[in-house]
Amino acid sequence: MTAIRDFFRSIGDAWDGLHPNVRRAIGVAVLVFFIVLPFFFTAGGTFIDNATRALAYAVMALGLNVVVGFAGLLDLGYVAFYALGAFTIGWFGSSFYAQVNHGKGLHIGVTGVTGQLPGIHFNFLLVLVAAVIVCAIFGVLIGLPTLRLRGDYIAIVTLAFGEIIGRVAINGDSLKPFGYAVTAGRQGITPIDSPDLPGLASFGPLDLRPWYWTALGMALLSLFVSFRLRDSRLGRAWIAVREDEVAAASMGVPLVRTKLLAYATGAGLGGMAGAFFAAYFNTVNADQFEFSFSIFILAMIILGGLGSIWGVVAGAIVLSYINTYFIPNTFKSLPHHIGLNFDLTDLSFGIFGFLLVIMMVLRPQGLIPERRRKLELTEGVGAGDSEMPIEVSV
């Protein structure tokens, strides 16, 4: 362990010692590498498929990291924003509402065949923006009841909301507020419009590269937002609230506003990734929105290092690859070799759980820890529940 730690530390020190221009050049080189990466692989192959999923999961994880890692609000219902983001594109980017406008449909910024279809069809970018807005609003609504709560109780309330959204997704076909069903129930909404973005020609199952680039762009945007917010007035307020609510409030940090902004930001990023996933899988399947998804994303940020932006990205990529590649491919025949007959994918969550336990024993601060969290875990400082409960008026 010491050798590994020293290795990472020496890399970190070497990086800090570089000239800013050299660092910038390395950053650009890495970026170019990721942009041209798909050209070396089959256009519709598994590599690009896995990479695309990993990037979209990174967006999800970065969103949850704002809530849990930065602001310290344990959210166990993050799947709600996956669902809401997915339904946003189901509503505004499919033929689900076919009867709209007397069957002629409503089209904004879409071309080609999609422009002729019935239903509501908005341009993919518009849908992404809509998904962010819808989820941010719901993030605030779900956040409101948790404001007077602390720690574990926040987890329970958010968990319940995640379940509620999941149930609504499954039973929403019989929920018709304006004569239009909210969801398609277990049937799912399919097909979803392929994105129609300038410069990226054919989004389809045969050439996955445009999907990859879109996911890469979303991941870069999420990274940018994460870094900018972390080093801002708001980022400091989040850490202050996480460490000591009483002191934060006494120093002029409005608790309600600060917490709700964390919920809204996290939800917005989750919704964006949710809409992307729905388009990528070409379906909004109500059975996907399960509690286990929330845990999957939470496991990513714990594995990577709570609050650490690069750590969270690493955690997302590692778990995504284990989920989509190592378990179904590399280790698929493992049970067979040891004389057992079962599908390893059925054990996915057992494997993730085992990994987390190992991680907690060996390296509780995560793969790439954030310096504050590391102190909290190893020295037992900060982030403790304050002994003096305060009477916050909401």
């Binding site: 900018r228 917010l229 009483v246 120093m251 809204a264 102190l375 400082v381 304050s386």
Partner: protein, 283 residues
């Protein structure tokens, strides 16, 4: 309101706080009238009426458990009083939120230092600047020129304040948990000063300090008042500091105000001797 001891300034009347008191040249900055706090069956603070003249240094003393910190917590909005009214700088702050009270100009420190442990000294002070900054969510993401400028100014102001309270510049970027006890006290005062308050509430600031450090802090408090025009209200156990620095002293015992006045008056008050000083000599 029933047992009001001799007042340094006339008490607030029931129909509302008076801002400028005829009795004092500077007026009153803080007025608490009949403030009570009850926890379950325990009356922690019992109808305390109290006022602080502008630009003065006032101490609250009393034995342990007298309700001093509870009273502080009501003034700064951490507790909501069960009865009574509090007015600060002409505004009613009785049930206001802590962050609003800070924005109105009342900042505090805590008895058991409550710095953000994993933030550096400088970051701690920058949190104290929160209320005086504007940057919002989108401005911070885009990092508008105004946001950039504000961050830079906040950074400068924080460094300036840390220098003012006497923290060595080599410690500015130390995590506050790694600072010495005395330095943590300094950072906490700098953090409270960051919001540019009109009034500073210090909860046992000399706790754990040796006589030299206490004396330095006493001089520092006087400097804050004289140079920055601050009003200072402090809870203090060190009688040497209290008697030297305070213009007025209020004594609490079992949640009730038992005496009030100039240091020499309070010192001679038999009730105080009985409740507080008497107890101390018995130890």
């Amino acid at each position: 309101m029933s047992e009001v001891a001799p007042q340094t300034a006339p008490a607030a009347t029931a129909d509302g706080p008076r801002v400028a008191e005829p009795g004092s040249s500077n007026g009153t900055i803080l007025e608490a009238s009949g403030v009570s706090k009850i926890f379950g069956g325990l009356v922690a603070v019992d109808e305390v009426t109290f006022s602080v003249p502008r630009r003065s240094i006032v101490s609250i003393i009393g034995p342990n458990g007298a309700g001093k910190t509870t009273f502080f917590n009501m003034l700064t909005g951490l507790y909501k009083p069960n009865a009574g009214a509090i007015a600060f700088d002409g505004k009613d702050i009785t049930r206001a939120r802590p962050d609003r009270i800070l924005a109105a100009g009342m900042a505090r420190t805590f008895q058991n230092i409550r710095l953000f442990a994993t933030m550096t000294a400088l970051e701690n002070v920058m949190v104290g600047l929160h209320a005086r900054m504007q940057a919002g969510l989108f401005g911070s993401i885009i990092r508008l020129p105004s946001v950039r400028k504000e961050e830079r100014l906040a950074h400068e102001k924080a460094a300036e304040l840390l220098e003012f309270v006497g923290l060595r510049s080599s410690h500015f970027h130390q995590m506050s948990v790694n600072l010495s006890y005395g330095d943590q006290r300094r950072v906490e005062i700098a953090r409270a000063l960051a919001s540019n308050p009109k009034m500073l509430l210090l909860d046992e600031p000399t706790a754990g300090m040796n006589p030299q450090e206490s004396e330095r802090l006493r001089a520092f408090m006087q400097r804050l008042r004289d140079e920055r025009g601050l009003t200072i209200l402090l809870i203090e156990h060190d009688m040497k500091v209290v008697m030297n620095v305070s213009e007025y002293i209020t004594v609490l015992d079992h949640g009730e105000k038992i005496a009030e006045g100039k240091p020499e008056e309070v010192r001679g008050n038999p009730r105080v001797v009985e409740a507080y000083l008497g107890k101390q000599t018995g130890e």
